[in-house]
């Protein structure tokens, strides 16, 4: 049975494990042969910045793991426009090219269109 599941990732990378464990959960959906969508908002959008060198602090690069998403049945990737704007992050700063950038209203609609939300 396919259900519409949206995973919301709102935390910054590296400083806490939340963002990493959110991505791990997203990758697990493929193991279970389910597709889910991902929404990055608030400090979660910092995961999407180019030029990350996480080896400096002995961590794995989010950029590498995010690049693997197409192999893990992640259906859609969404980014909250206002979160980008507040942080003055432009399209050219982002690792992911195929993401849809959504307004507040579009996100309201997106949330209400799901069967489940996994909050991170």
């Amino acid at each position: 049975m396919q259900k519409k599941i949206l995973l919301i990732s709102r935390h910054a990378p590296y400083g806490s494990s939340t963002a990493k464990e959110a991505l791990d959960a997203a990758l697990a959906a493929a193991v279970y042969e389910q597709s889910l969508s991902l929404l990055f908002m608030d400090d979660g959008v910092f995961q999407l910045l180019k030029d990350q060198q996480a080896q400096q602090i002995n961590q794995k690069n989010f950029s590498s793991i995010l690049a693997a998403l197409p192999f893990y049945d992640i259906e859609n990737i969404y980014i909250h426009q206002e979160s980008l704007k507040k942080r003055i992050i432009e399209n050219k700063d982002l690792l992911i090219e195929h993401a849809a950038i959504l307004t507040n209203e579009q996100i309201s609609t997106l949330l209400n269109d799901q069967d489940h939300i996994l909050s991170f």
Partner: protein
């Protein structure tokens, strides 16, 4: 209605896993079913059998175990999160050549896929984090 719960918050340092427990109790009291309680991130610390809170304080560890026992609910602890943080069952302690294991009774280690499976097979999925 079938519920599944995702507990991502630690048992003592924040209130959220207690909130999750109270929520589960209320779900059951209303006659609904809890399909699975999945412990992830720092939530996995709920599964230690070595915590020893003072007698006059909340013992959430016991409460989770009793809840599972009385209602035959699956308490699944994410194995990836647990191994990183030092919660192991006997089998994993042997696999990783550790001298002890500390997973409390009533809890089982499981893959993250079980979180997704819980979502697929439940009508409601509620996350408690901090």
């Amino acid at each position: 209605m079938i519920f599944s719960i995702n507990v991502q918050s630690p048992p003592y340092s924040t209130q959220a896993s207690y909130t999750a427990y109270r929520f589960c109790k209320a779900v059951l009291a209303q006659g609904h079913q809890v399909h699975r309680i999945f412990f992830y991130q720092d939530g996995i610390y709920c599964a230690t059998r070595l915590a020893a809170p003072p007698q006059d304080e909340l013992n959430l560890y016991d409460k989770w175990q009793n809840l599972a026992k009385e209602n035959e609910i699956e308490l699944v602890v994410c194995i990836a999160a647990a191994l990183r943080r030092g919660i192991l069952n006997l089998e994993e302690s042997i696999r990783y050549q550790k001298d002890a294991h500390n997973l409390a009774e009533g809890f089982t280690l499981g893959g993250l896929g079980q979180l997704i499976e819980a979502a697929v097979n439940s009508d409601r999925m509620v996350t408690f984090g901090n």
